[in-house]
Subunit: 675 residues, 2 copies
Amino acid sequence: MTLSSRHIDRFAEAAFESAFSLKDAADPAHRIVIAHLSPSVDQGRFPAKRVEGDTLTVEADIFADGHEALAAVVAIKREEEVTWRRVAMTALPNDRWRARIRLASRGRYAFFVEGWADIYRGFARDLAKKRDAGRKLDVERHEGHVLIVEARKRAAGDAAASLDAILRDLETASADEGIERLLAPETLQLMAALDERKFLTRGEAQTVEVERKAAGFASWYELFPRSQTDAPKRHGTFRDVIARLPAIRDMGFDVLYMPPIHPIGTTHRKGRNNSLHAGPDDPGSTYAIGSAEGGHTAIHPELGTLADFHALVGAAAEQGIEIALDFAIQCSPDHPWLKEHPEWFNWRPDGTVKYAENPPKTYEDIVNVDFYAPGALPGLWRALRDVVVYWIEQGVRIFRVDNPHTKPLPFWQWMIADVRKKHPDVIFFSEAFTRPNMMYHLAKVGFGQSYTYFTWRNTKRELTDYLTELTMTEVRDFYRPNFFVNTPDINPPFLQSGGRPAFLIRAALATTLSGLWGMYSGFELCEADALPGREEYKNSEKYEIKPRDWSQPGNIAAEIAQLNALRKREPALHSHLGVTFYNIFNDRMLYYAKTAPSRDDKLLIAVSLNPHDAEEGDFEVPLWEWQLPDDESVAVEDLLQGRRFTWQGKVQHLRLEPASPYRIWRIRPREGALP
Amino acid sequence: MTLSSRHIDRFAEAAFESAFSLKDAADPAHRIVIAHLSPSVDQGRFPAKRVEGDTLTVEADIFADGHEALAAVVAIKREEEVTWRRVAMTALPNDRWRARIRLASRGRYAFFVEGWADIYRGFARDLAKKRDAGRKLDVERHEGHVLIVEARKRAAGDAAASLDAILRDLETASADEGIERLLAPETLQLMAALDERKFLTRGEAQTVEVERKAAGFASWYELFPRSQTDAPKRHGTFRDVIARLPAIRDMGFDVLYMPPIHPIGTTHRKGRNNSLHAGPDDPGSTYAIGSAEGGHTAIHPELGTLADFHALVGAAAEQGIEIALDFAIQCSPDHPWLKEHPEWFNWRPDGTVKYAENPPKTYEDIVNVDFYAPGALPGLWRALRDVVVYWIEQGVRIFRVDNPHTKPLPFWQWMIADVRKKHPDVIFFSEAFTRPNMMYHLAKVGFGQSYTYFTWRNTKRELTDYLTELTMTEVRDFYRPNFFVNTPDINPPFLQSGGRPAFLIRAALATTLSGLWGMYSGFELCEADALPGREEYKNSEKYEIKPRDWSQPGNIAAEIAQLNALRKREPALHSHLGVTFYNIFNDRMLYYAKTAPSRDDKLLIAVSLNPHDAEEGDFEVPLWEWQLPDDESVAVEDLLQGRRFTWQGKVQHLRLEPASPYRIWRIRPREGALP
């Protein structure tokens, strides 16, 4: 089984072309090397991600043979713009160059690096050295004159007049005066502006996707609207959710995310605790989407009407809360598409449609569309895009996407870009819990936020390693982690066994380690009843209506509110980036700093990782980062307790009780006392 | 000064194309991702380097949405070959795939990875799981039948007959028998061979340059032929070098490298110790190439004739030694090219040619060609290539290139590939002591060997960091370090102050840490007289004839011979790769293992880094690498002293005296006693 060898030869032909021709080699544009561009996601195949207001730091290695002085700029523009803005790069050690560019507005940007030989600057640099060495410089003076005469030919207007003046000066100047004129700042500036950019070379173009602030900084709250009720028998509604908004706002959340709100199928409906047979009152899984009452663009009648939904979106906006919807592509066997579009599904030889399975597990209440079925293209792909567009038209701008790793990557790449072209404020959040390659690739193809492994990272080593991977490797440029502490599918063992202190610990870690975090309702009540030996909640809300007493004793709503309020005030907590782990001499305590770009102060955060017992240990205040001696004093502000005090010396001691397992301080040593 | 905006828009247009069309997205070839290919030098722009007989390990991340079973191969061929050889890849954890391919012969290879969905294998995998779970499988049996009928349409000959037999069996088989038939190894094998390779995707093509063994493993000896004499007044000749060959062979060297052998200019000739004015007997710098007697293709008359040179090449070959020449592009002001090709030079306004300088330093005895002078292309570039070809025709196959970083990178890329196309056995060795980017890029564009920073790496930390960079980062695929312990330009402080033990230490490090090492003659005599406070030799041989007594007391020729002999015998010493640093609890001692690919034994090497005093310390025998307990005994062979003994337990103790500052042992724990 081989492919046409002609086809393959064409494909691989390029591989042998690095032995390039003399004509290619002689192209002056090949003299300068521009390499190791940053940011660059898969060599420019995918955009790097930033949010509005970020400063983009562009770096590249730029070098060439010989002694020429080089110069470089970053050229950048938004997709819609016509002209490229050029920002000068400055040279760092070892051929590294850097420019910083503020990204004022959202959209897709392209940028590339240009480097060239700045002939006059190199001449002037050498001339100054020779002058300082006391060398005779008659020929050099002549050479400078020639360079200026050449530049004069390219000049017009004021520049031409200024060069004429310099040339006149040079004719009457003494030898020493002539050299000084050649090296005068005015001459250098004029000559730089008129430089012919010899050996101009361009690096490969890269793109940057600049999203709105909420793509990188937001606090998510997840609830099932049907559970917003006081009795299991009464199905909660959008109106009930509206009534809950003030409490959610008071806890400091910005995003309210609801699992699918569409009609639920009845065929093979799942009962309580995922049982195969539903009782007459069982509401079914919200993920079995579609019934005679409609599919992905319909609303489950018991939740309310489209008008109710609009009311909810409006009421939430008034509280500063955005509604996020679930985009789950699967269908119940009752979904209208099965009859309207049988060509989108995978039919078996016995005439049934293939239901979802992960052998030997089966999901009889769900059937999946087949993206590559002979009749699926382009109808199915467009219809799915149009589902998203429909909800955008209803006021939704954030979509949490269910299991995107089981749908084709090129579908997401096309759909997300197509939607965001018209609606650049739409954010897609990837719910893929799978191998890291796939999770990262989904972010590359367009997802602006991603679920993570945070939920299963509990020890000091696990947390440090994971944050290091997210913040210090290439993924930092395209993968925005959203640290969910729990989900309807994930009741983590740490919470099951750790009681209230465990909830406080995980909330403190999520809120301070990531710009994006989220919780599924019940977390604030420290709910953790599980199916034995599993990560599933007992009596899971996925299959039943679950009223709750939101003010029940032991809840941590106040602590969550305090953490979220602190997040809003502190730029250092608006991203997972800018984290540094420091020494605390106890393996069950984590201690780290968060720093905002171009800020001198630091937030220092210490969290006990042990929900059962008190932990204590010495920790190091990073005085060395301000070049301060180990015995220096620094003013400290405890941001949770509001107290101010002084730490004397680098080594301090801390004890954390389970009831109060974290501290957050600000230090700002360079300014002395804190404001 | 802006470029045509239309030109730039075309350039950057591609950057915005990642928002690809629905038609592109729907292409089945986009479903599977092939990423993070290895080896891959700058995404395939440059070849990875290997030598004949190496095993190439190709790895890639290969993944796709959903539950399909994937399959992958590496397709590989030499440039001259017509058909691609396909080697199956095997799956490792986390979507990583790997294949190993022996590179039997030299030349340029291209390879790429192909991945596809192996439909029947995925079907069979799921079928087996469902069978094991005791599920009813009537529809699955039907589905398997359909897949086989489809494959039958693509089959011919024996495969068709075999499938027909299977289909007949299925018709009469019981339900259980049918499942077993569908899962039978014969069925799986037939179906794999007839797989239609759905969603076939190719990774980007990469190249590998496979050079002869000497590109990666050789011991170099450098000498000035004019110094092969018994009196400064008598100019040494090629015939004198022939007389020295047995001694060089006895020390175990394979390559004899001579600085330029061409006529030396007289204008501005340098005198002893780089003085500006030469006396009447001063021979001048061999790097001031060219006089009335000829240029780069001529031989300095005092060295002998072309026939003498041929005799030297022949005599060396008889001793197993190759002659390496210096390719130094600079000219003396007397070089014939200045008159024959004034268009290749940079003339100043006063009618003189620009001499070499690195302001404020000047090199009046040397003028440089100007690669981008208006008249230099293509004449100069071809003439330089033809110089190399001329010496190839005289029997030379190795060129040490002087200061390649001051000549254009595209020149090297074209010239080296052009020469190696006809003469794939030619090796180019880059003498660039400059910033790492340039040194590495020269290797990328074609240099098969490179000088390194080894000469200045003396402490444990410096050596460990540098070897880690060379062996564990991307440079391992394209940069072959040649560890020179000294050169006519570099008399390292460590040797100046450390006496004979320092020479032993550096020889032991170079010979065991790198497949390629070299010394400049005088090293074996522990010569280290320096100009005060400099790394320059006093009375440098660059400017004078320097007879030596090769048998003078204290020489280390015997130790060098022993190390070189060991290198020849031990595959672990044929490359810098395969090094692991282990604990020795003394910061002035270095302790490491070298392992050859697919060998189970290890060489363990301990070197004192202190030439002045004895050092001692405990060290760890890496028993854990063979899963042996810490108290295990291992048989040890001391490869220098020829003794055999036993180490009992993981921790051993070593004391090294300055007179005997290194040990080399072999351990092979899995086989028990050593052979």
